[in-house]
Symmetry: C2
Subunit: 240 residues, 2 copies
Amino acid sequence: MSNPTAAILVIGDEILSGRTRDSNLHFLAQELTRVGIDLQEARVVSDRHDRIVEAVRALSGSHDHVFTSGGIGPTHDDITADAVAEAMGAALGVRDDALGVLKAHYDRMGTEMNEARLRMARVPEGATLIDNPVSAAPGFSIRNVHVMAGVPRIFEAMVAGLLPRLTGGTPLLSLSYRIQKGEGEIAGPLAQLAGDYPDLSMGSYPFNAGGSFGANIVIRGPDGARVNEAMTRLAAIFPE
Amino acid sequence: MSNPTAAILVIGDEILSGRTRDSNLHFLAQELTRVGIDLQEARVVSDRHDRIVEAVRALSGSHDHVFTSGGIGPTHDDITADAVAEAMGAALGVRDDALGVLKAHYDRMGTEMNEARLRMARVPEGATLIDNPVSAAPGFSIRNVHVMAGVPRIFEAMVAGLLPRLTGGTPLLSLSYRIQKGEGEIAGPLAQLAGDYPDLSMGSYPFNAGGSFGANIVIRGPDGARVNEAMTRLAAIFPE
């Protein structure tokens, strides 16, 4: 399979302190699966310049796309644009197109532009803006790094605008089957089945519901007929 | 501040495909904050041997503690123990203490030991077992890497048993204050306040509720009196 690969970098002390529960990773994971982009890694780092620079460099070098979430607002702890610009070796400054978008928005709202709001018009040289239909302040794509807001409603709107611009791959087809037995009963036959279908991925996701153990078995692959065939065999081994 | 530092490594395709929403990161973040261990990074990688080895090596070299979640069950896609053993340069084999725990559990349940279940008794040389009060199969600590199950109920029980063994630091005190203004109004005065209190961290976490914008400002630090003083000044600038 040669689907494009991706990583997500979530930036924010509030996630690592347990104050906030991130939801952008889960949202993006589902969207990327839908368009056939293979999310291979996620990282969460704190609001520290060197940590963000290091993570952006590492992830942009090893994946086709990197999506970042958080740290592009007007406050002193919003340092993502600076860090991404440094990581990508690009100059950062207020850009006319971003400034125009913000000014038009504040004019409509009857709000005045101030120094803090001006920070949100700083975009790295060579970057393409990502539309923000919620609160105007844009995200941006610089080469393979796509920088978006952390507030879930804004992040989700930005992703919706960005994804059609990216080239996806073949969405994997997946079927899942719930087995009410401990994984210890399932493991042997499942490993044998996985050996018979090296073109498919088979995962076992155990659960504990009401004190009894079971597992959801997920079979995934690009060829629906093969996925179907393997799942039919699994269901015959473990009838409901 | 010299609190111990930590990272969490969540292992599992199901998180990256969007099938499952991880909850172990958020749970651990809250627990570590409570005991004064500074969670600095989180990563999620897929069930691939080389990815797990690389992440364990990188994180265990740069943090006092690494906590892993997932991939220690009996099925063919449970490869965490193998990868951690390789990353830490330790031999992996069935160990009598782990086997004893499992055998006693299966005897009580009237379940037989089989080859798949035996996989869960494989523990790296030199590791200390982590108790699993839910389903017996133990986790383990090898040097600064603590390997635990992915099922949230089991992960949480393992963390509860493990944390008292680790040396914590000074829990940070934090106060938060909700301001019903856009961050663009808050940013200037907040940056000035942050400049006056270099010993404290001040974060601004914007939200959008019912169409209007606001932010929660969180002030954190080891000295409660300082946190209080700064928050009193903030509240005077932005009265409710």
